[in-house]
Symmetry: C2
Subunit: 233 residues, 2 copies
DNA sequence: CCAATGTATTTTGGATCCAATATTGAATGT
DNA sequence: ACATTCAATATTGGATCCAAAATACATTGG
């Protein structure tokens, strides 16, 4: 039934040589995020604490604290005495997340554009360079990460830290689906073009233009994702 | 030391006759929320787990899980190996929370108004009756609770559960300040009037009117709270 | 055969104990 | 007197163990 294999393969294995966080709960948190976004833990799956803890080579205590964090972010649900389950995102849920993003990000971008510093601009350009590099190399994961940095750099310029935190959480909750989007070469091309356009508008401090550009950018992503979602609910 | 006593009593005492939740972490979560919103735990305070756990007559394990939840909601902050601290809301933070609420609630109300059922209307009217009762009795805590039910009933009619969850979290994070608002009799009167106006508009399914009315309602609260905040940061 | 009931097993919830880290305070040297 | 180092203490982080609840399973009666 369960992996006849003993200690640590599956989830643990692919840590790619990153430095391990200072506490086990933070380490587990990262591993869980990856497990969920890469689909290793699938939507609807119950999370068996004992097995997972053993696999990650920690006790259940830090695992449970990490799960509480994920619960707060909406990546897992919790029922008392029954445990945690990987959240199942319906099409409606996905649309709702994007609706909320639409609303919050519009405001964040609007504010950011008005007060965009040269430093922030350079930071965004650097992120964009990484996006293009990763795209050229066909590295989907790296591209998703760089793409995130690109957008977050812009949001952070809004000077609204709580808003940024909420947006980040919303991104987290749909990570799994977004990576699908980057799988398509055509989408990768489009992302690059749209980012360049947004950067141009930011250089001119054109707030409304940037808002519109990024809204369109987002809309493209969501329609593309909606298309493939029924296959992997 | 620890309970030679069997099933849990202890500091539970002051729960005003509410039914105790099925798990200790949920119980602790409620107690912590109250402690923070009533000012028993003050902004900036470090949270000493051992002492608090003993006071609540639980071990540190469920306490820490509850703290993780609060961290996700932004009511406490966390530093590895240093522990949890009650979040300190600056004036800017407060304004940001209200800005985000403004944006999200406008959308929620807009959608809710269009699809407001008679059942939802009755529910809102019931909540409003409780608000008026509590106001008449001068029971600030009960009024805050009923007020919350009134607004949440409306938000929930939007059919956007995630959005409602986020709004609820935003309310949580400023509970402490809002109760101050209800302390003033004049404010209590105004709240009642404004709620009645909103209900009228809802009965006519006037979406934009309701949005405007509730936006004004919110604006009154925030300016009033801003006025008193410097005293209790 | 099916439903209901009681029992065994699994799984989560929580308490206690120990380890790791941070903080405090005293002693020491300059 | 001041800064620095090192020991003592307090506090958090985590592992293990036990209790409580839920689930799975078998048994019995209809």
């Amino acid at each position: 039934m369960t992996t006849p294999e003993g200690p640590a393969r599956g989830v643990t294995a692919e840590s790619g040589g990153r430095r391990r966080p200072p506490t086990a709960q933070q380490f587990v948190l990262g591993e869980l995020r990856r497990a969920i976004t890469t689909g290793r833990l699938r939507p609807g799956d119950p999370i068996r604490q004992e097995a997972l803890a053993e696999e990650l080579d920690v006790s259940r205590v830090p695992l449970r604290e990490a799960l509480k964090t994920l619960q707060g972010e909406g990546l897992v649900t919790y029922q008392a005495h029954r445990g945690y389950f990987v959240e199942r995102l319906s099409l409606d849920d996905l649309r709702e997340v994007y609706l909320i993003r639409e609303i919050l990000e519009a405001e964040a971008v609007r504010r950011a554009a008005g007060r965009f510093t040269d430093e922030a601009l350079r930071e965004a350009e650097r992120a964009q360079a990484e996006v293009e590099e990763a795209a050229a190399a066909g590295d989907v994961l790296a591209m998703a990460a760089a793409n995130r940095r690109f957008h977050m750099t812009i949001f952070e310029a809004s000077g609204l830290p709580r808003m940024v935190r909420m947006i980040r959480t919303l991104w987290d909750s749909t990570d799994a689906y977004r990576s699908v989007y980057y799988g398509e070469p055509a989408n990768r091309e489009r992302v690059i073009e749209e980012h360049r356009a947004a950067l141009d508008l930011l250089r001119r401090r054109d707030a409304e233009g940037t808002v519109r550009a990024l809204a369109a950018h987002r809309a493209h992503a969501v329609t593309a994702i909606e298309g493939v979602l029924p296959d992997a609910p």
